[in-house]
């Protein structure tokens, strides 16, 4: 009852025009505050991106950064750290870093992470094949192929992945050959050797 009485008094004092003006001013002030808040937020985000990009540049140029800076950041930072480990041939650390970001980011990012993972396996497979550690090289080449295929399924325009998949396929040829009717029939012999890893060193 008292409240109603109060409102009636206020309405009687303030005419419609003043009300509209007050509402307009309040709305404008609120909009100003909101846009300033958005500005401060964007500025903070921009600073964060700048800082992260500095870290990525540092890692790419071959300098390590503290792990806690990477953990809290974007998945690109982890990819950069895995890249750094790969350059230094620290394969286990690179693998554990990469495995954390496999499902993060957009398609392009995922394709890139899988391509780098494939490279990680293929490098090791090539090294093992070079020292004739066939049992080690086989599963690594298989994993590399799998990673490249996934990368190409995500981004079929990745030429580096195509090339390296072919490297991996030559290292470990597929079990079942595709025989077209017009193919030469003398590939019966070569089928025996299809799973032995190694590259052709010269023409016969």
């Amino acid at each position: 009852m008292i409240r109603r009485h109060l409102w009636t008094r206020i309405y009687s004092r303030v005419n419609g025009q003043t009300m509209i003006r007050t509402i307009r001013h309040m709305t404008l002030w609120a909009a100003l505050a909101a846009s300033l808040a958005a500005f401060v937020y964007s500025a903070g985000a921009l600073y964060g991106i700048h800082h992260d990009n500095d870290l990525i540049r540092q890692l790419t140029s071959g300098k390590d950064v503290a792990v806690n800076k990477v953990i809290s950041g974007e998945p690109e930072l982890r990819l950069a750290r895995a890249f750094y480990f790969q350059q230094k041939h620290r394969y286990d650390e690179a693998l554990s870093t990469l495995s954390l970001i496999m499902d993060k980011g957009d398609r392009k990012f995922q394709a890139k992470a899988r391509y780098n993972l494939g490279n990680l396996y293929l490098e090791q497979a090539v090294q093992q094949a070079k020292t004739m550690n066939i049992n080690e090289a086989l599963p690594l080449a298989g994993l590399a192929k799998q990673a490249y295929r996934q990368a190409l399924a995500l981004d079929s325009g990745n030429w580096d992945a195509k090339y390296n998949l072919e490297v991996a396929m030559r290292l470990l040829p597929e079990m079942d050959r595709v025989d077209m009717p017009d193919d030469e029939p003398n590939n019966q012999k070569s089928q025996l050797w299809t799973t032995v890893p190694g590259f052709p060193r010269g023409l016969p």
């Binding site: 001013h25 404008l28 500005f39 964007s42 921009l46 991106i49 890692l59 790419t60």
Partner: protein
């Protein structure tokens, strides 16, 4: 005559085009050569059927691995009336040593007409695949040549920059409007006084002389900051010396206004209104700074 009739009837029976369940069938594929490992090959199948016949989606090849070297990445079926457009996207993962001919397997698309089932076979499609590497690949110090790791890309800041610019401009606009509402631009307002007066004067005729004179008085008052009378013109000129060049016209205005409001039998002619407009034109030029 009877022979001709029998012949025509038998020909009609042979044609059978009316009863065919599939009235149009076409497989569209791109070039059959020049593919490399990892390439995607699109295949479009366009089928038009008779009414009452519907496609059985289960008869299309399933998405996923078809064989060791071929994947089906995407299957899309678009139906518009009796026309079906089936888009298949294959991806090939074969590493040939030389240019090799491969085949996309054929399949049969099933249609149902009531309880009856009709099949339309899509033929196999042969294409050639080329290798990317030479047979005896080059070697590097590490061994086999392979493409290097892909360096991480820098984080994009374009969107944040747009956000920053947008929020800043919105804030600036609101701030400018608020300061205008709170009267922070008196100079700007004073510079458009005669512009507004001219606009209003344009709509007045000689019968509205009272209104026109009041308008010019009001404008001069606003410019002066307080009511301006004939005897205070010298003070006005001291504050706004640029208006000295129209002093004679201003004198005429005050005299005319005095006569109009305080003496009887004043006859207004069109020339008076024109003179008033000329005064405002001159003052507009002064306020704009062009004179």
């Amino acid at each position: 005559m009877r022979i001709v009739l029998i012949l025509v009837l038998s020909l009609l029976g042979c044609s059978g085009s009316i009863d065919e369940p599939v009235s149009y069938f076409n497989v569209e594929t791109p070039r059959p050569f020049g593919y490399v490992i990892g390439d995607e090959i699109p295949q479009r199948i366009v089928i038009e059927t008779r009414s009452g016949i519907s496609l059985q989606p289960g008869s299309l090849p399933a998405k996923g691995q078809i064989n060791r070297w071929l994947n089906l990445n995407q299957v899309t079926v678009k139906q518009s009336g009796r026309r079906y457009q089936i888009d298949l996207r294959y991806q090939v993962f074969y590493a040939p040593l030389a240019v090799k001919s491969l085949t996309l397997p054929g399949f049969t698309v099933q249609f149902s007409q009531g309880e009856k089932s009709i099949g339309q076979s899509v033929p196999a499609w042969t294409f050639t695949l080329s290798p990317l590497r030479e047979l005896v690949a080059r070697q590097t110090e590490q061994g086999e040549y392979m493409r290097p790791d892909s360096p991480p890309s820098l984080l994009a800041n374009t969107q944040t920059l747009y956000g920053l610019a947008a929020s800043l401009s919105v804030a600036a606009l609101i701030a400018a409007y608020l300061s205008y509402l709170y009267g922070c631009f008196p100079d700007r307002l004073r510079r458009t006084l005669f512009k507004q007066a001219l606009r209003k004067l344009a709509g007045l005729s000689k019968s509205d002389m009272e209104q026109a004179l009041t308008l010019v008085h009001r404008v001069l008052n606003s410019l002066n900051g307080q009511p301006l009378f004939h005897n205070r013109l010298s003070q006005f000129y001291r504050r706004n010396p640029q208006y000295l060049q129209v002093s004679s016209r201003l004198d005429w205005f005050f005299n005319y206004s005095n006569r109009y409001f305080f003496s009887d039998g004043m006859i207004v002619v069109t020339q008076d209104l024109q003179q008033l407009k000329d005064l405002c034109e001159q003052c507009r030029k002064i306020e704009r700074g062009s004179q």
